[in-house]
């Protein structure tokens, strides 16, 4: 249940709403148990239900934000392969040790600030260990879009954490000592 709660929290950004989402998710899952296909990971199935519950609630409350639609042709390899943060920190911290200095709350906040379409795929992949195929099912997007969103989301997140590390003095800009 922790995983569903965490996902609900990332979806809604509110603890109260996340708790309601968890309850509704489990109720729907329980009622639809005969539709669960063995072989599908239960966690992934619950995330799909949770996202559907969330979307339905959001539609109902007229707070529907347009989900960015990306095309399936959006090949992550067509995007620059350069990792800007890696390039910026290469001289003094090539292995990204500065990530270890960043407090957990700050990492959590940086994830929260990502645009939704990036935040959810990063959470499902890096925090919940879903495969690209499972994420595609939960999010109802093509696998190619999962890859490109992951690529962009991770890069954005690295950028935010790097800026924070600079601000806190965990790392200095290239050339400074």
């Amino acid at each position: 249940m922790d995983a569903v709660y965490r996902f609900a929290l990332r979806l809604s950004g509110s603890r109260d709403e996340a708790e309601d989402l968890v309850q509704d998710t489990y109720l729907r899952a329980f009622r639809a148990w005969d539709q669960y296909s063995p072989g599908t990971r239960c966690k992934s199935w619950l995330f799909t239900i949770c996202r559907n519950v969330f979307l339905r609630r959001r539609e109902r409350s007229q707070r529907h934000d347009e989900i960015l639609l990306e095309t399936a042709q959006d090949d992550p390899r067509a995007i620059s392969r350069e990792a800007p943060v890696f390039a910026a920190s290469r001289d003094q911290d090539p292995e990204g040790e500065f990530f270890r200095s960043i407090v957990d709350d700050q990492v959590f906040a940086a994830i929260e600030q990502l645009p939704e379409e990036y935040r959810l795929v990063v959470v499902l992949s890096d925090l919940e260990d879903l495969s690209y195929g499972e994420i595609a099912e939960v999010m109802e997007i093509p696998v190619g879009t999962v890859k490109s969103r992951l690529f962009r989301g991770r890069r954005q997140l690295q950028g935010r954490l790097y800026d924070y590390a600079l601000e806190m003095g965990y790392i200095s800009k290239g050339g400074d000592d």
Partner: protein, 117 residues
């Protein structure tokens, strides 16, 4: 319907995917020497970095990418960089647990729902 079996399945955790990056690049003792390895170019290895770490490589063997990242001094820091990044994300996750009151609330709702049928 087996009420408790269903609950157990719904509440129970499931195993995670095996992710290549969790084991690599550590350099197995039985690895062939550098000379034996037909190295893929840095560009190709770095383009596959996320897929490699995510255990999702297609079209190129995991072994080819792993060997490159182990051996190549220019690319090896890249994978360490991405791993440290991912560790930071995973650390931030540790506090996200449901309260006992929510757990009870959900169980109560499920039991009531079952009672209505």
């Amino acid at each position: 319907m087996a009420f408790f079996d269903s609950l157990k399945r719904l509440f129970g955790g499931t195993g995670k995917n095996g992710r290549s990056g969790d084991e690599a690049p550590s350099g197995g003792s039985g690895s062939p020497s550098d000379a034996d390895v037909a190295m893929i170019p840095c560009d190709e290895a770095c383009a596959r970095l996320f897929e490699y770490l995510d255990g999702e490589l297609e079209g190129v063997s995991e072994e080819e990418v792993r060997r490159h990242l182990e051996v190549c001094k220019a690319c090896n820091p890249r994978i360490q960089f991405e791993k440290h990044f991912r560790e930071a994300l995973q650390r931030s996750q540790e506090g996200g647990r449901v309260s006992e009151s929510l757990r009870e609330r959900v169980l109560q709702a499920l039991a009531e729902d079952e009672g209505l049928d």
